[in-house]
Amino acid sequence: MTNAPLLSIQDFSLEFDTFDGVYKAIDHVSFDLVKGESLGIVGETGCGKSVTAKSILGLLPSPPARVRSGRILYDNEDLLQANDSRMRAIRGSDIAMIFQDPMTYLNPVFSIGVQLIDVIRAHDRHRPVADRKTRRQAREYAVEMLRKVHLPNPEHQLDSYPYQLSGGMRQRVLIAMALSGKPKILIADEPTTALDVTIQAQILDLIKELIEEFELSLVLISHDLGVVASICDRVIVMYAGQVVEDVKVKILFDHPAHPYTQGLLAAVPHPGRPDDALSGIPGSLPNLLDPPKGCRFRMRCGKAHAACEDAPSLLRLSEDQSAACWLHFEAAHA
């Protein structure tokens, strides 16, 4: 693992124009993805995790989305400045994405084969003519990709339609599509949330296997801390559009630094420890049409005090952990 980040998100802010006003979805978010790393982004609905991921690939229509500040650097190129044709070349060939509900992302009236071969040939358009695959080669490659995602009987399945496949099989097809352009980064937005646990376990195993085989770096978005723990090296915790903690998985569960992270961990029942007391986080998310001044978690935080009326920034606590909380600034300066 080298230390130069493959993907670097720097001071990124994004907002949406709505009828009710300007919705400040992402506020000064910064993080890096190192080559070969699996990074999890966790947080509750509306915290900005999916919006961040979609912004990397320029998938948010503008308007209503508007970038306020920041850069998204991939291989020293700012993706926020890239034009449409450049983004099309990057999508799938450098950075690919899979989504929560595979059915929504497959066209119900075309067979799996037609859709997969279409993607393969679309990637070829960015190559010199001599290197492009023939129709037959594209079909063979499609079968090979389906075999790599362990879809049973791939030659036959090329002619299946999405409704004939189960949820797990559809997700395998989407993964095959995403990886057919040999990307370096895979962004997975809740890839197993719509699946049953035994199928989830299959897909997580598959993603782990493909990370090795394709030398992928992974950005996994999930609200399930168990899923993140079983696949990621590092985790970004987001709350109300901000990063509140950036921490290695090996530290996260035993030493969460931010009160929100602590609250999140205490709120999830542990399948192996039924006697642990559960405690919810009181209150609800702030309205991002008019975000509160200072620390955004302040109203729900048991440890809030006068300092919290100013916004804290991420403080590096150790090599493996940063958190945006005044308690740690005070501890550091005491």
Binding site: E44, T45, S166, G168, M169, D196, V197, T198, I199, Q200, A201, Q202, L204, D205, H223, D224, L225, G226, V227, A229, S230, V249, K250, I251, L252, F253, D254, G263, L264, L265, A266, A267, V268, P269, H270, P271, G272, P274, L278, S279, G280, I281, P282, S284
Partner: protein, 320 residues
């Protein structure tokens, strides 16, 4: 409190260009829930767990079998029995948003069952609704609001208030926290736990989330393809699952902790279609320890592990 005997719910399916077939969504489920118990009914999507819950309340037609609630046969309904059933047993659904009428104030939503089933009117009715709001922890200034003005957790509290308005004895909870964020989920779970204690309720808790079931339920029944494959006290089943499917299900849950326990290979394949079920064990096609020649032919009978734990598996019977 609740007893199901060989409950069957079959749906006929047909359509243009499609042969007629029967979907055996629930295929012979027998179950007993004692008063004051919380039974977790778990299984993957398509296992029939929600259909069991709906069949109990006659929200789907029952094909065969008997439903006994508080000793009374509720397998068929007439007007009196139906009124009684609706007062005794209430259901809470997964998506609180679609369970509330958007054109009714939530006060009216909670008052509905009281208006239909009791003589409460006017000030007495309003008092009872306020009381219910207090029980579920909603501020009284919410009374006049409409469901779109509430968050998911608040809407689920409204649904709970409506469900307990008639002081039912049995609550059927169908994935009541699945649509909620974790911080809200834990608030609702804690509340459901104290509500059960305070109101002496019996719960049938339908969920795919094993951690939640372990937290809330003292009994568990595992469904696969319309049948119960294992049931018993939650702790006994979690500590020593006997059915290969239960074992695989428990192994598949990722733990929120830094180091994952060794789980071995995941279960292969998908849950088969409930159309044209195979003759033998329903889990045969995915079972890692199946006995060729037996399991695909003969449906496994229930084997008693202890006085209240059963498993449907040939391996447990020791006969082979």
């Amino acid at each position: 409190m609740l007893e199901l005997q060989e409950l069957k719910v079959h749906f006929r399916v047909s359509g243009r260009g499609m042969r007629k077939a029967v979907v055996a969504a629930v295929n012979g489920v027998s179950l007993t829930v004692a008063k004051g118990d919380a039974l977790g009914l778990v299984g993957e999507s398509g296992s029939g767990k929600t259909t069991v819950g709906k069949a109990l309340l006659h929200l789907v037609p029952i094909t065969d079998g008997r439903i006994l609630i508080d000793g009374e046969d509720m397998s068929t309904l007439n007007g009196d029995r139906e009124r009684k059933l609706r007062r005794t047993a209430q259901m809470i659904f997964q998506d609180p948003h679609s369970a509330l009428n958007p054109r009714m104030s939530i006060e009216r939503s909670v008052a509905e069952p009281l208006i239909l089933h009791t003589g409460l009117r006017g000030a007495a009715l309003r008092r009872r609704v306020s009381e219910l709001f207090e029980i579920v922890g909603l501020p009284s200034e919410f009374l006049r609001r409409y469901s779109h003005e509430l968050s998911g957790g608040q809407k689920q509290r409204v649904c709970i208030a409506r469900a307990i308005a008639l002081n039912p004895a049995l609550l059927i909870l169908d994935e009541p926290t699945s649509a909620l964020d974790v911080s809200v989920q834990s608030q609702i779970l804690e509340f459901l736990r104290s509500l059960q204690r305070d109101m002496h309720l019996t719960y049938l808790f339908i969920s795919h989330n094993l951690a939640v079931v372990r937290y809330l339920c003292n009994q568990i029944a595992v469904m696969y393809l319309g049948e119960i494959v294992e049931q018993g006290p939650t702790e006994a089943v979690f500590r020593q699952p006997r059915h290969p499917y239960t074992q695989a299900l428990l192994r598949a849950v990722p733990y929120p902790q830094a180091v994952q326990p060794d789980r071995g290979p995941p279960l292969l394949g998908d849950i088969p279609s409930p159309i044209d079920l195979p003759a033998g064990c329903s889990f045969y096609s995915r079972c890692p320890v199946r006995i060729e020649g037996t399991c695909e032919r003969i449906a496994p009978p229930p084997v008693r592990i202890s006085h209240d734990q059963f498993v449907h598996c040939h391996l447990a019977s020791g006969a082979i």
